[in-house]
Point group: C2
Chain length 802, copies 2
């Protein structure tokens, strides 16, 4: 556990951390606090309570649910740190080094694409083969009418696969559970959730994803692939705060959070691209949903990464098309190709399409609401311990297996229609649109075509066009209800799981149902209705538009669908937005990640930053020449990450004789720790020369974020010595005047990607302190401000002005 976990706040003097406690004590206390959160309230009433308790002061929350555990979170330093050492480094960089740096960025983007593509290939290969052989085996039992044996084999195989996935996740990488997309979104917003991007997480995510998807659970490999892409990017760029990371020398050139952020954006795009084989969609997904900051240079590099992914996937598909990859055939990589369909629609069809959008919006927000409740319930179960988590996963697995196998027996057999020559009818193998299952020859079981196959195949079957009479309404209703239940109860279990596929499955079901209901009133194929249904539910739940549109475009490979898809997405998103936020925002909120929204609330215009500073604990600042004992004291007793450095009685160069206070800048905790570790102490308080500092410190060292300072033993003598903090101070922190409204300050904070924002007084005169307070991410969050200023909550109802 990290000693100085509190990343944001500047709250010395606040309730708990008031007295002088060592940081290890602090850690214990905080973990007790977390314990209290996790064990204290297991009654069902707590379903409506927030998962994390918050104090009634600003900046109080620095905890978040990370992998079902309460952890400390850190903010990232995206700001350009202009201290003397870093400045020296920029000046001394030669042309060759700059070129090396640019080249390195491109090389890493290439590697991210390459590795993501290869791993996606591996996952697809493994899933198709494992699930394929499993289904073949069970299919044989069904053919021999040994139904019980089939059930046992299927359930057993799925049980073992789920067990392996969940055990890996629970014991080795709890953060590998779930999709990981909310955490990536938070990272790119400036919040570093611990243990998200380590090598073990990557490994567990890959193996766990293979296990969970092969086990036939109602979850996809798409979300995990996004996380995998980001993990690769982070490992390559040495991002995150994982302790055991490799420290290759040649990587040190890329030792700042900004470059890592860009690389992780590349990773996330590559992941989406690998999941849907949709390069442009991947870039847009990162742009619209995941990334907070965006520059055209990133667009350009991200595009390169996804291009590499596509080339890798294409090469692999070409290689496998000759049958060298076991059961991996033309399926595997999701590709709902409907490009051969000529889409005809007239103005009347717009009505049906609008209806799909409407249903998608309503169902999507309902899904978000219900999933939120289920996740709260699950977090109570998961907190009971590792065994509880495993048992929960296994229960879901058994339930899923029984339903998938048992439900097809409820519906009758349908006679094959010989006029449909496109698909082979009454197949017994792994794939096929008309599964024979328990039916006699020449008949097929339509529900088995959807349930008794991999999820990818199920989607391909329900999307299939020119098969108007294939699926009966009853089967589709069963399928819809089943996947609504599974979609809600599978997502929260402790295996790597994506949200895309469950939503596609539910959406396609009601889409196709609606297509049947429209009957002869519509010209649009029922398969396309299914596609539109899937799109509408995604828009209704995830609230993306352009990126979803492009992903569906690239999935369906049919541009004629574009206008209707756009319409569906726009309606679904608008309707959904009336009810609740997107599912990712709900998960972020649930996990307690302090995500900073793009748009300030309207009422934020009515509070000034000075009012916020007033309710915060008093400011802690340092002098440029500071005593060691005071630094140690402050580091021990506060959890702040940045301290203003202020010099008294400085002679102002422009007007000789005038004495003034000088705001020298802001020093980071990490740099104070570095100074203490190197014991760079002076006997006298004197300003040091540049060469003295550069002899002892390199910028590479200072770029490391090492906050653990408890190992440093400082003698009594040393405590009385001094440190010259000037060379380590970021001389140019961003500032706002005290009258600034919170809305404007928040725009600045988010746009420039800050961690600390200094409030300066509007007055100039003797005796006025040059800094009024420090704002951090937590101070600018609507929720936190409303807690402290309850009267503002009254105006909460107002619409956000977008």
């Amino acid at each position: 556990m990290e000693a100085a976990g509190e990343p944001q706040s500047n709250d010395i003097g606040s309730n708990a951390i008031d007295e002088s406690i060592s940081s290890s004590e602090l850690a214990t206390r905080l973990s007790m606090e977390a314990e209290a959160v996790t064990n204290g309230e297991t009654d069902l009433e707590s379903l409506n309570q927030p998962l994390l308790k918050r104090n009634r002061t600003l900046s109080a929350s620095h905890l978040a649910m990370v992998g079902a555990k309460v952890s400390h979170i850190e903010s990232l330093d995206y700001e350009i740190n202009e201290n003397d050492l870093f400045k020296q480094d920029w000046r001394s960089r030669s042309k060759v080094q700059v070129l090396q740096y640019v080249f390195l960025k491109w090389k890493l983007a290439f590697l991210v694409g390459l590795l993501t593509g290869l791993i996606a290939t591996l996952i697809n290969l493994a899933v198709e083969n494992i699930a394929g052989y499993k289904l073949l085996l069970v299919s044989d039992y069904v053919q021999e009418e040994r139904y019980m044996m089939g059930l046992i084999v299927l359930t057993g195989a799925n049980f073992l696969l789920t067990l392996s996935a969940t055990v890996l996740v629970v014991f080795f990488a709890p953060t590998a559970a779930g999709p990981g997309i909310p955490e990536i979104k938070a990272y790119l917003n400036g919040i570093d959730t611990p243990n998200m991007y380590g090598a073990s997480t990557l490994f567990v995510k890959i193996i766990g994803s293979i296990g969970a998807v092969s086990a036939g659970l109602d979850l996809g490999k798409e979300g995990p692939l996004v996380h995998i892409g980001s993990c690769i990017a982070s490992l390559l760029g040495q991002g995150g705060t994982d302790k055991h990371r490799v420290k290759w020398r040649w990587y040190r050139i890329m030792n700042n959070d900004r470059d890592r952020r860009d690389l992780i954006t590349c990773g996330a795009s590559s992941g989406v691209c690998a999941a849907f084989r949709s390069p442009v969609g991947g870039v847009l997904f990162a742009l619209e949903e995941v990334a907070t900051w965006w520059r055209s240079a990133i667009l350009w590099r991200t595009f390169f990464s996804t291009a590499v992914v596509v080339v890798v996937l294409r090469a692999f598909i070409e290689f496998c098309s000759s049958g060298k990859c076991g059961l991996f055939g033309n399926g595997g990589l999701i590709m709902f190709d409907v490009s051969n369909v000529t889409v005809h629609y007239n103005m009347m069809d717009i009505l049906g399409v609008a209806l799909i959008g409407l249903i998608g919006g309503v169902l999507g927000s309902l899904y978000n609401y219900a999933l939120h409740k289920v996740l709260r319930l699950y977090s109570l179960i998961n907190e009971r311990g590792k065994l509880a988590k495993i048992l929960l996963s296994l229960t879901v697995s058994i339930f899923t297996s029984v339903c998938l196998y048992g439900l097809p027996f409820l519906v009758g057999c349908t006679k094959c229609d010989p006029s449909i020559s496109k698909f082979e009818c009454s197949t017994t193998g792994r794939t096929g649109n008309y599964k024979r299952f328990n039916c006699p020859k020449g008949y097929y079981n339509d529900l088995a075509s959807l349930l008794f196959s991999t999820n990818d195949d199920a989607v391909r079957n329900i999307f299939s066009t020119n098969t108007p009479g294939e699926f009966h309404s009853v089967s589709l209703v069963i399928y819809f209800v089943l996947y609504c239940i599974l979609g809600l109860f599978t997502f929260g279990i402790a295996v790597p799981s994506g949200l895309f596929l469950p939503i596609i499955l539910i959406g396609s079901a009601y889409g196709r149902l609606l297509g049947i209901a429209m009957g002869s009133y519509t010209k649009i194929d029922r398969g396309l209705y299914a596609v539109l249904g899937a799109a509408s539910l995604m828009a209704g739940s995830m609230r993306m538009t352009v990126s979803l549109c492009v992903i569906f475009l690239e999935l369906t490979n049919n541009l004629l669908l574009l206008p209707v898809t756009m319409l569906v997405l726009l309606i679904a998103k608008s309707v959904g937005d009336c009810f609740n936020p997107s599912i990712y925002e709900i998960i972020l909120e649930l996990k307690g990640l302090p995500f900073l929204d793009a748009n300030p609330e309207p009422w934020m215009r009515n509070i000034s930053v000075a009012e916020l500073a007033d309710v915060k604990p008093p400011l802690i600042s340092l002098r440029g020449l500071e005593k060691v004992s005071r630094i140690v004291d402050i580091l021990r007793n506060t959890t702040h990450n940045g301290f203003p450095v202020i010099d008294d009685d400085v002679t102002v160069p422009s007007s000789e004789g005038t004495k003034a206070r000088e705001l020298h800048g802001l020093i980071l905790r990490a740099h104070l720790v570095a100074v203490l570790k190197k014991k760079w102490f002076l006997n006298q308080p004197r300003k040091t020369e540049e060469w003295e500092v550069r002899q002892r410190f390199s910028w590479v060292e200072l770029a490391e974020r090492d906050l653990d300072f408890e190992q440093v033993a400082i003698s009594k003598n040393e405590m009385e010595m001094y440190v010259d903090l000037h060379p380590f101070t970021n001389k140019t922190p961003y500032t706002v005047v005290e009258d600034m409204s919170v809305a404007k300050a928040m725009v600045l904070f988010r746009q420039v990607a800050l961690r600390h924002l200094l409030i300066v007084p509007k007055y100039q005169g003797a005796g006025i302190y040059p800094v009024i307070g420090i704002l951090t991410r937590q101070d600018l969050r609507a929720h936190n401000i409303q807690t402290v200023f309850p009267h503002i909550a009254k105006t909460k109802g107002r619409e956000k002005q977008k």
Copy 2:
């Protein structure tokens, strides 16, 4: 001419504007200065001189070439102005008003899409019919072997069409010349070029575009459509500084530059969408190339606009498909549909594709270089007066007509290959891939298929697939050389012209040539080679990637082309970037528009903002209670647009008894003018009450940008009176500490979309002035800083760190 044109600078005391001159004198002087620029140097040496003379001080340049004329430019106020009146307005807005506001935004986005779609339809209809009947007529003469008569009719018709377009442009709306995209890019970056978005510009652009395109000139309607979309958006949102705009009451709610900016972004996307029928491409074009600031809310509304455009276009095509639109048939809207082609390629083809990318990059940067030189030459001609402009256009028109008509006679006739059944061979009509022209029946003239047709048809013909032997190398070489010449010499003439089509024409020529050269080594169709060639030259010249990729995707309607297109675009852009900036950046530079780049130069880290403030003329500030005479004096003698308001001897509320200087904020010139116009003067210097101000001023009035104050007659008595500036002052300007590097300040300036950035001292003490200086857009431009700090130019060679 506007009186207070100088928008940015704070340069009282600088060379020319030193003494007390009335603003009408100033205007005369400035126009003389402009005259000097336009007439002084017509010798060819001046080709290498910058078009606009710049003074050797910071903030000196406030002139730009707008429609071949030197004009004053204004910056836009994108910052949220937090003065008392505006704040009062936000507070008093009811829920209904907020909803109205949101609804209005959507309504306007809808209208922008609808009108852009309708106007695009109109232009297409007109062009297809005018050019079609013209070609039919000439075709008849050729059939009758009356070649001379054909030449005369064609040249005459083109002459008249060009004449009408150029006369309209020259006499009624000089800003309608060219594509308008650079100016839109500048607008969205915060620079308001005058007369760009007026009703007359819109009208001339539409009619002029129809005339110029029908005249067979080598230019497209794509760029103008983007401008038309933006014009519509601006007129609907009442943007720009045009004087004669309609002032509907219900629009007043949207009376700030930010909302107008968002709407113009919608307009630009709609224009691209209408040009290429590419909704996603339109959104991405706006995102990648045009817009400087981007929020997900804009993404979402822009997407809505383009969706509307697509629906309009689709309805129109459906309507016309039954032949109700004259000669407008299945052509007209560019749509190089190659979706029926199955693309096969192997690893070997990558070589050819990479070669295309390489050629595209080299040729693209060469094109940029040559076009730059031609535009400089043209500006010398254009400055000779209106007649010179018209003559230049007509010369180009005659040359084009003669070449298009005459060159096909140079090549021989080819016998029709009966095995090719896809296209009708030896057609005499308007369209058709195998034009008979001067050949006997059963033969066709391949060059006539490319030259003797509308540009859209030419593109469709050269992109046509499964026609490997149709075009001979000789014809393609003639075509390539001709369009290289035309592409360079047509763009700068005084008609509305787009860059997309000329580049597509050149690119497709060498693409198809390369396809022929590759012969049997490649599996890729020659039509696809032409498509890739066009893409490569666009990437090489315009340097876009993702948006171009999507536009080509939507144009060709074939997703299998995606990976190769990506590869071509990436290579072409990378190669092009090695030589020069993109064509739009070159035009921006040529026009002298102070565009603010996304990435600061590396050397900007080594200068502090205080150093910039030092070389600027002394700061002019106002007191909170200011004498009328001083305000009038300052307004007359300076051209600044923002003045810091500073109060002396204010009692600090937190510590009673302390007297200090207070930085009250920043007041805009427009608001000072408003105060003078309303003669809101006080006999005594006293603080006014809020109700007093609100009785006289509404926020709607203050939102108007009216800088013309010469009409105000102020008596001697009034001159001695006082004004309370406090309620009009933006109390929360953004500030930076004096040590801030220019690089960091520039990031802040651009990210938060500022017009003025105050530099505050790092010292706090008695006698220190609370503001050191003001930074504006011009101060942060690399070029201007290098002029003042020549020693910095030494390090200029270094790569930008992206």
